[in-house]
C-alpha cells in the first residue's frame, strides 16, 4: 500500500518537475520571439505556471508537447529593421526578408530526417517564413543537412529544451545586443569609413546570435556597462 503511495507521489513529483521545465522553456521562447521584434502580448509572454499547466496538460495528466505551438507576426518596427535600402543601382528595393514565425515543441524521443522534413513541409505549406523547432533531444546530423537545402523556401532554427531553461540574455554578464537595420549598418560603415569585414565578428552559432536569429552579414550593436566609462557600444558583424 505505502509502496504504491510512494510511487504515486514520486510520479507526481516527476510530472511537476517536467511541467516546470517545459514552462520555463516556453517562457524563454516567447521572450526570444518578442525580443526579435515579433508581436506578442504581455499575457502570452508572462504566462504563469498554473495557467501554463491548465493550457497544455493532456488527458493523461502530463504536459502534452504537441499542444505547445504558436505563431507570431513581425511588428512594424521589425519590418523596418529588415527593410532593404533602395540604392542607386537597385532603386526598387526588394521587400523585407521577414514574415510570420512558427514555433513548435516536438515530443519525439529522437529526431531525424523524417521529422525535419515534415516540419519543413508544414512551414512551406502554411507560408511561414521562419520556423523554430524545439526538441527534447539532439537532432541527427543528417537531419540538420535538410535545413540549408530548404532555406530558399523557409528558414528553420532548432533549439533544445535544455538550452531554453534560462534566458541567457537576462544574465548580468551578457551585454545587450541590438540588431542594426540595413540603413543603420550603411551609415555606421560610412561614418567610420569601414568595410563590414573590418568589423569584429560574432559567430552565427554564438548563443546570443542564435537567440536573436542573426543572419550572415548583419551587424549588432553591443552595449556594455562599464564602471569607468559608463555605457559604451561596440559593433560586430555576424559571420
Amino acid at each position: 500500500m505505502s509502496a504504491d503511495d510512494d510511487r504515486a507521489i514520486k510520479l507526481r513529483e516527476a510530472g511537476e518537475r517536467e511541467a516546470a521545465r517545459l514552462w520555463r522553456a516556453w517562457r524563454t521562447v516567447h521572450e526570444m520571439v518578442q525580443d526579435r521584434g515579433y508581436e506578442l502580448t504581455e499575457e502570452e509572454v508572462k504566462i504563469s505556471l498554473d495557467q501554463f499547466k491548465a493550457n497544455f496538460t493532456g488527458p493523461d495528466g502530463t504536459i502534452d508537447r504537441r499542444l505547445m505551438r504558436f505563431s507570431a507576426r513581425p511588428s512594424d518596427a521589425m519590418m523596418i529593421k529588415y527593410a532593404n535600402v533602395p540604392t542607386a543601382n537597385n532603386p526598387a528595393a526588394a521587400s523585407a526578408d521577414i514574415g510570420t514565425i512558427w514555433i513548435e515543441f516536438l515530443p519525439d524521443s529522437s529526431v531525424g530526417i523524417k521529422q525535419m522534413r515534415n516540419f519543413a513541409q508544414y512551414l512551406a505549406s502554411n507560408n511561414f517564413h521562419t520556423g523554430i523547432l524545439v526538441t527534447n533531444v539532439n537532432i541527427t546530423p543528417a537531419a540538420l543537412k535538410i535545413i540549408p537545402a530548404v532555406a530558399s523556401e523557409t528558414r528553420i532554427e532548432c533549439f533544445v529544451e535544455q538550452d531554453l531553461l534560462v534566458n541567457i540574455t537576462h544574465h548580468e554578464l551578457v551585454p545587450k545586443h541590438v540588431l542594426l537595420s540595413k540603413e543603420e549598418k550603411t551609415k555606421l560603415l560610412e561614418r567610420y569609413r569601414l568595410k563590414d569585414t573590418q568589423l569584429p565578428r560574432i559567430q552565427l552559432g554564438d548563443p546570443v546570435a542564435r537567440y536573436l536569429g542573426l543572419r550572415r552579414g548583419q551587424v549588432v550593436k553591443i552595449i556594455r556597462k562599464s564602471e569607468t566609462a559608463g555605457r559604451y557600444a561596440s559593433y560586430r558583424l555576424c559571420v
Binding site: G112, K114, T140
Partner: protein
Amino acid sequence: MASSTPLKSILKKPPSSYPATSSSSTSKADRDREVALYHANLLQQRKDVEFTIVLNMETLIDFPHAGPPHDASNPSLSDARSFKELLRPFRPSDYDALIVERNINELCGYALCPNPRTKETGGGLYRLLGMNGKAKDFKVVKKEELEKWCSEACAKRALYVRVQLSESPAWEREGAQTVNIDLLDEPKSEEDQAVEKMRNMHLNNTGDAERRQDSASLALERGETGAGRSGLMDIRIQENQTQDPAQPPSLDTEELSGRLDTMHLTMEGHTPSFGSRRQRRHEDEYGSPGGEDIDVDVDRDWRV
C-alpha cells in the same frame, strides 16, 4: 560573385591543371580569382555530394517498396538494384547514419528489410547471447546494438554491406573506384531471376548473334558439316542422392592435433594416401613397410 564577365568552368578541366600553375592567366588578380573559384567549386561539389547522400538516405528510410512475398532474405530485384545504386556515394559513417534514421522510424536497420526493429524488454545495458551453444558462440552484446535490427540475420546482412563501402569520400574517388555492392541475400524469386537473365541476355545478344552468323558462314565456306561436332564429349552432370541434411563445413578442432603430422601434405583438405614422408622414411630405414606405427598413419588417412 556578381561579375559581368562570364566565368569559366574549372570543373571541366582535369585536376592536374591547378589554376595557379597554368600560364594562361596573366594578371595576379585574374589568377587569384581563378584559384578562389577553383576552391569554391570543389567545395560546392563536396556539398552537392553530401546532400545527395542525405537525399538517398531519405529514400532508403522508406525501403523496401516491394510487398509481402519479398523480405530481407529475398528482396525484390528492383529494390535490391536501387539499394545498391543509392548506396554508391556512401561511406561507412553515412551507412551508420542511415541505420540510425531507420531506427528512429522504428524500422530494422537493414534497408531491404520491411520488419520493425526489436525492442528488448527489461532493463540492463547488456545482453548475453549464445548461452546454450558452444563456448565460442557466447557473446556479450549491448542492448542498443541488438535493438538496431529485427533479427541477428539482418545484422549480418547489414554489416556484410557495410564492409564493402569505401572509406574515401565520394568526391575524392576516382571514376574507376565505383563501389559494387553484393548482398548476403541476393534476390532469388523465380520471377526476378528471369528478369535478371533477360537483362543479361539482352546485353550480350547483339554481339553474340553476329558472331554466330559469322562462324556459320565460315563453316559453310570450309564445307564443314554437323559431323565435326560429334567429336565433343557429351557430359551429363547428375546430382548425388543425399541422405542426410546438408552440414555446413566446420573446423573440427578436436581432430586437429591428430592430423598435425600430415597436415602439410594435404591438398584442399585431402591427404593423399600413397605413402607419407614419414612412411617413406620408415621404409628407407627398415626396408619394408610394416609395424604398428604405419597402421595408425593409414588409419588416419582414411578418417580424413
